[in-house]
Each structure stands twice: as C-alpha cells, then as structure tokens.
C-alpha cells in the first residue's frame, strides 16, 4: 500500500530509542559535514556509515523504495545537466586538465570534471538515506517536541507533526474516494487520454479537499477544547530526556563534522581534495 510511505512504525532498537532531538542534531551535523567537504574519500566514508546506520535501524528497503527511485532519477538528471551547462568546471576548481575524451571544443570529458561530478552526486546520495532514517525512525510527536526544544514555536512544530500524521490518512481517503468515483464511470486508467485523466483526478480532489476541511475544523475544535495554545510554552508527553546513548550519538555526530572541517582546513587546505597536483 502506498499509505505506508510515511507511516511511522515503532520499533525497539538503538536508533529508534534515541531522542528526536539527538536525531535531528546528528542529522544536521552529518549533513553539514558532507555538504561542506568535497573530499570524496571522506564522503564515501560517511556514506558507508549511513548505510550501516540504516541497517542498524532495522528499516527495510521496501519502505524507502519509492523515495530511492526518485532520488536516483534526480541524481542522474543532475549529473547530465551539470555536464551540459558546465563541462569544464572541474578543471577550474582543480587547476589542471587531464582530458579523456573530446566531443567538441566545448564538451570535453576531463578527469577533473568526472571527479567533481561523482563527488557531488555521492554527496547527495549520502544525505538522502540520513534524511530517511531521521524521518522514519522519529515519532512525529517526538519530532515536534524536538523542534520545539531547538527553539521553533510549538504551534508550528505541532502543525508539522499533524501534517506528517494525517498524510497517510489522506492517502487512504483519496483511495476510498477514487474507487467510489470510478464506480460512477470515472476512468483513471491508462486507457483514457492524459488530459481527461487529469480532469478526472480533479473530480476526486474536490471531495478530498472538502472532507479534509471538515476534518481540520473538527481537529482544531478538539484542540481548542483541550487548551491548545493557552500558554507560551507546553510540555511534551513523549519528550525523552537525553540519555548516555544520546550523548554518545551527539558526540559521534559532532566528531564527523569536526573531521570534515579538519580535513578541509588542515589536510587539504581547501574544501576540495585535489589528487591532480
């Protein structure tokens, strides 16, 4: 079922048991580490690490399959477009030029360009699993609690967590409406022309919007009635105090970031690792 896409399913392991705040901070640390550095060795190291974490969290590939497909498509597109618009950007960065193949005077494949583009792709590819681990192993309410703790207003945090929560509901609702409309003769299959299919999909969206609005009115009334928004601050039932594991994970995340920075400043002397000189 598609509805499983963002469903949070509770599990009991090290990653799931970390506090949402820890996971958010670690996610930020590691993302920044990867984004800052252009050293492919280090990025590969983080990527391997995120694969290990993914494995350790007990998530199945099935849960992220659709996302993974989109990411691969995006990366391929990005790879091609980068080459089309800036085929020799790599040589500018590294200051050398090792040609491999020449299409025209403008489009030349160089070792520098290859290294640059591969590095960039791997950068994205290593951040995405981190993001997915974060999303899928964090209880939406706890996520809200974490956001609130790093200074975001609790109303905004709660709105975000409610959205995450109702997303699977909305997909279910959409499926129900879709079959009911199909039984009235609405064709959504590939037999119909694209234009008409888009129009038909609109016919499903209108009842979806209306029933969602009903739902929003109800939930906001229910929240008002139970005192949501009464005070400037609120506490969280699901908030977890930081435990040893959390501190460990935080140190680990910070270390990764520090490693990336040190490598850039002290070893490579710049954000790029240059094997060509």
């Amino acid at each position: 079922m598609k509805a499983k896409l963002f469903d949070y399913i509770d599990r009991d392991n090290f990653i799931f048991n970390l506090s949402g705040l820890t996971k958010l901070l670690c996610f930020i640390f590691m993302t920044f580490a990867v984004m800052f550095s252009y050293d492919i060795r280090y990025i590969l190291f983080v990527m391997a690490l995120s694969a290990v974490i993914f494995k350790a969290s007990g998530l199945g590939f099935k849960q992220v399959k659709i996302m993974a497909v989109y990411v691969v498509i995006f990366l391929l597109l990005n790879f091609i477009l980068t080459f089309l618009f800036a085929p020799v950007y790599g040589t500018e960065i590294y200051g050398t030029r090792h040609e491999i193949f020449r299409f025209t005077d403008f489009y030349v494949i160089t070792q520098e360009q290859l290294l640059y583009q591969v590095t960039k792709s791997i950068k994205y590819a290593s951040v995405v699993p981190l993001g997915m681990i974060f999303l899928l192993t964090t209880n939406p309410s706890e996520f809200a609690a974490s956001l609130n703790r790093v200074g975001i207003s609790y109303k905004a945090a709660y709105a975000l967590s409610l959205t995450l929560r109702y997303f699977p509901d909305m997909i279910r609702n959409y499926q129900d409406i879709a079959v009911a409309q199909q039984s009235r003769g609405l064709d959504l299959s590939k037999k119909e022309k694209l234009g008409i299919r888009v129009k038909n999909t609109m016919n499903i969206c209108i009842p979806l919007i209306f029933s969602t609005l009903d739902r929003i009115e109800l939930i906001s009334n229910a929240m008002d009635l139970r005192g949501f928004g009464k005070h400037k601050k609120r506490t969280w039932y699901v908030a977890r105090p930081l435990r040893k594991g959390d501190w460990g994970a935080l140190c680990f995340g910070a270390l990764i970031l520090a490693g990336s920075l040190c490598l850039s400043f002290f070893v490579n002397g710049s954000r790029f690792w240059n094997p060509f000189v």
Binding site: V179, I206, A222, L225
Partner: protein, 573 residues
C-alpha cells in the same frame, strides 16, 4: 460532594439567545435552564433544533470558534461565560465530541490522553502518572502505547473520554456519544458515563437523539429542544407519559410505542422511562390481549435470486483474512441489512461486490452470471454504491451537474441526461433545488443528492453504507421511506448499518457478519430476538423482545413480528 453543594446550579441559562453571524435567524431563543451539580441531563431534539448549539455555548466553541450574537446570560459555576475564554471554560466543562476518530490528536493513547496536561505545562513524571490513573478509570490502562489504527470505535471514544477526565472538570458534556457506535458498544459507553457520574460525582450533560439507548441507564431529566426553544423539561417517566416526543421528531423507546399500540395510556406512575422500572403488572393484561388479537402474517412469495455469493474469501495479507467462506442469496426487490461489529468485514463485502477489490476465492453471481473479471465500471451499470459521508462523493458545485456526472462520464446524450436527472431529482424530492448550489444543502439533503446521482444511472442494486447515520428520527424516516419507495419500484437495496430500528422496521432480511464470517442470515426479527447472535455481532436484543418476555409472552419473536407488521400497516399508511 456535600448535599448542600448539589443544590447549586452549575449551569444557568437566563433568557439566553444566540444567532450565528452567517444566519438570518437566531438559533436559540429565550433559553431558561438550570442544571444542578451532580445531575445527569439528557438534551434531545431533532437536527437543527439548536441542541448542538447549546453544547457549543457550554464548552466555549461559541463564541471562540463560531462567532455570533449572544443575548441574555449564561453562567457556568456562577461565572458569566462572556467573561471567560475557552481555556478557562475547558477547565470546568470537558467535552467529548461526536467523532471519536477525528478528535484523536496524539499518536498513541497515552499521548492523546496527555494532550490537555501538556498544554498546561505539567511535568513529565506527573503527567505519566495522571495518564495512567485516568486511563485505568476507562479501562484503557493496558493500551497506552496503541495507535488509533489499532483501536475500535468504542475504545477511541474511551480515550477521548479520558482526555477530558485528566482535567478533573466538574461538568462532562457528551455530544452525540452514540453516533458512530454499534449497539453493544453504545451500551458500554452509556455504562461508562454512568459509572463516572456515580463514582466521581460529575455533572453530566448528554446531547443525543437516540433516546432509548441513553435511557439504558438512569437520567435525571430530559430537556427537549425544538426550533431553538426548550419545549419540555421533565423526568423520563413524565416524558414518556406526556407523549410529545414523536411530535418533535424524536423516537420514543419501542416498548413505549408497543404499550400505546396495546391501548395502554402511559402515565408517569407507570415509570416507563426505563424498561427496568416499568410497572409490568399494570400493563401486562393490555399487552397480552393485544398479542392474542393479532394474526400472523402470511408468507411472501419467493422471487428470483439477483445476487448470490458462494464461498467468498478475501484477505489483505496472508494473516489478515477479512472475509471467510461467505455465502448468501439476495432476491430481486429485497431490502437487506448487512450488520455486524466495526471491522467485521461488512464494508469489505460491499467493496468486493462493487469490484473495488477482488475476491481471493469463491464466486459472486449477478443474475446467475459469474462476475469474475468485470471491472468497476462494468459493474457500476447494475450496482451502485453510496458512501456514508456525502462529502466524500460530491465533486460538482451544482446539484444538477452532480447528479448528471455519472451519465456524462458514460457519454449519454444531453437530452437523455436531462430527462434522467430530472426524474432522479424528482424521486429524491430535490426537484425544487435543481438549480441550487450543493453548498446550500443540509447534510441529509446532500445525502439524497448522492443517492439521486446513483439513481440516475438506473442501477438494479443499490448498496448504501450507513444511510441514516447521524440523522434524527424525522430525517431517518424520510430517508428510509424514500428508500422503501425506491425498493417498491423494483430496486434491490443492501444497507450496511448499525441501526437496529432500521433493520427491524425496514429490512425483511438481515445478514450478520462477525469476524469475517457469516453468523446469521434470516429475517431481521429472528436476528434481533436471538440473544446468541446479538451478542456475537455486538447487536442488542430489541426492547420489544424484552417487553414480551417480561409480560410473559412465550412467543416473543412472534410478538416482535406482530408489532412490526402492525406498525407498517397502520402507522405508515
């Protein structure tokens, strides 16, 4: 609580009126009502009578969320509500809303119960303690980690109940607590409300139109609201004797109706408010006499089978079997109710019939032909499905276009469309609204629009999911009489329902599903007088049956049948 305390009014309406900004007329006029500490009060009234508006005034949604003009005074615990905000009020009045699903805010039971505490900045340890204590009060203490998907409707309602109990409010307000519950779960809900009322000395206000079900437990007073005014304020016993419920579109308990048919002039002294308190010896002779004088009805002739299932199986995954070995026959022109607990597989059965999902085994025969491989669209030419919530179906802004949608999608000629749509609108009593926008219609009218849009397709079989959910007696009768007239015109009707009155009064044939299996397939009267099946399927044996037993009628089932026949013949002519 001390005796002296009980005397004080905790809710005081004085010449109170309210008008929504969006409406031309006031919804409430000159309401004068006092509710005392520790009382349990039932507010009844037809849809649009203003009973929900009274509820909104009590919990502060008016004027906090719904704006309008108020007049007169409303004091809660001695304080004008005008001078309080919704948060202050929520500390005194705890509200359990109608839709237990929609008001589930947290991700788990524990979190949802804690919601009000979180907003009050309660420390985590104290919060966990309170949540556990309150959850135990409503028997949900073991399920703190469950998510709403794992809970039944009744359990969700318990969670909602606990969510307001954490605040230790004085007044509990229940807005149609029975609306989405099956009869047996409804009974448990009323029990629970009663328990909390007795043990914790709360003041309880219940807004509900299913009178008989609420009166399953004691109620101090019934307030009857109509057209924004209070028309009666008396004890249940007096109310039954006053004989005014029917006039205002509220269904009186069936056993009271039976007493009246038997020629008993119900008096307050009969204590007819609840069947348990009813003075049986005083009414026994009349009931027995009536029973003797009625004749049995002759059997109806058999018509050809239009829809049949043979050993139908369906499952979502290997472990989750939803339907197991279901077989039944439905004859042409029948009106059938499909009943059972939530999640028993009733809706899935409807989905299999319509082809929304495909069976894993067994056969479905339509007029003797196997339906295997027929698409949704092909089936929709004979079978139409009306969802419970009309807002999930309506997708055009204008009534005419909505009803015409199916025909247009199927490429009918515009002339034919006009003719068929007008015919469908006429049958559904919507002709005067032909050119209206849908948004101007009431919920019940929208429901009829969805039925009309199905009728325009000329189906042979109409499947309806909870056709009367949330409707008061007046609208219920209107919808059901309308469906009956369709049925008499030759449409076979299948209804998924929780409503036992509906089942008893309108459907001669009932199929009972429990845990994915068929456990009963007989006349509705037989099912609702069978204690074993009723218990398994979360139904409730009808009070008529109990009345018959109490008055010593041996053939209690025959008595129920006679009641139904009598009512059909005499009351609906």
């Amino acid at each position: 609580m001390e005796e002296g305390d009980r005397k004080g009014a905790v809710i005081e309406f004085e010449d109170f009126s309210f008008q929504y900004f969006s409406q031309a007329e006031p919804t409430l006029h000159g309401i004068n009502l006092k509710i005392y500490a520790g009382e349990k009060v039932l507010v009844v009234g037809p849809s649009g009578s203003g009973k929900s508006t009274i509820g909104h005034c009590l919990n502060g949604l008016i004027p906090f969320s719904y704006h309008g003009k108020t007049g007169g005074s409303l004091k809660i615990c001695g304080k004008e509500t005008k001078d309080m905000n919704i948060f202050e009020l929520s500390k005194r009045v705890g509200t359990v809303l109608q839709d237990a699903d929609g008001q589930f805010i947290g991700l788990t039971v524990g979190e949802d119960i804690a919601f009000a505490l979180e907003n009050d900045r309660t420390g985590q340890e104290e919060m966990k303690e309170t949540v556990q204590r309150v959850a135990d009060m409503v028997d949900m203490g073991q399920l703190l980690k469950s998510s709403p998907f794992e809970l039944s409707g009744g359990q969700k309602q318990r969670v909602a109940f606990a969510g307001v109990l954490v605040d230790d409010v004085d007044i509990l307000l229940f807005d149609e607590p029975l609306a989405n519950l099956d009869p047996a779960t409804g009974k448990t809900a009323i029990d629970l409300i009663d328990k909390v009322w007795r043990e914790y000395h709360k003041t309880v206000v219940i807004i509900e139109h299913r009178l008989e079900d609420v009166l399953y437990r004691d109620v101090d007073r019934i307030i009857l609201v109509n057209d924004g005014r209070i028309v009666a304020d008396m004890t249940p016993d007096e109310m039954m004797a006053a004989d005014i419920l029917g006039k205002y579109g509220i269904r009186e308990p069936l056993y009271v109706t039976a007493l009246k048919y038997a020629g008993v002039k119900v008096e307050a002294a009969h204590r007819a408010g609840r069947l348990i308190t009813l003075d049986i010896p005083a009414v026994q002779d009349a009931v027995l006499k009536w029973h003797r004088e009625r004749e049995e009805k002759e059997a109806q002739q058999e018509r050809p089978v239009i829809l049949a299932a043979e050993h139908l199986n369906f499952r979502y995954t290997k472990k989750r079997k939803i339907l197991q070995d279901i077989s039944f026959e439905i004859r042409e022109g029948e009106m059938v109710s499909i009943v059972g607990t939530n999640g028993a597989g009733k809706s899935t059965l409807a989905k299999v019939i319509c082809g929304f999902v495909n069976e894993d085994g067994g056969k479905l025969l339509l007029g003797g032909e196997d339906m295997k491989g027929r698409t949704i669209k092909e089936r929709s030419k004979t079978i139409s499905y009306v969802m419970q919530n009309p807002n999930q179906m309506i997708c055009k802004p204008m009534i005419f276009d909505e009803v015409a949608l199916g025909l247009r999608l199927n490429g009918a000629a515009e002339e034919e469309i006009t003719e068929r749509v007008e015919h469908a609108l006429k049958i559904c009593g919507l002709s005067p609204f032909k050119k209206w926008p849908i948004s101007a219609l009431s919920y019940g009218q929208k429901k009829r629009v969805t039925i009309a849009s199905m009728l325009a397709m000329n189906p042979k079989i109409l499947i309806l999911d909870e056709p009367t959910a949330g409707q008061d007696y007046h609208h219920y009768t209107e919808i059901m009489e309308f469906l009956k007239s369709l049925n008499e015109a030759g449409v076979t009707i299948l209804m998924i329902t929780h409503d036992m009155h509906l089942m008893l009064e309108y459907t001669s044939h009932a199929i009972v599903i429990s845990g994915g299996k068929k456990i009963g397939d007989a006349s509705a009267v037989e099912i609702l007088t069978n204690e074993e099946i009723a218990e398994q399927a979360n139904l409730k044996v009808t009070s008529l049956y109990e009345l018959a037993k109490l008055t010593g009628i041996e053939d209690a089932q025959g008595f129920v049948q006679k009641f139904i026949d009598y009512e059909r013949r005499n009351m609906r002519a």
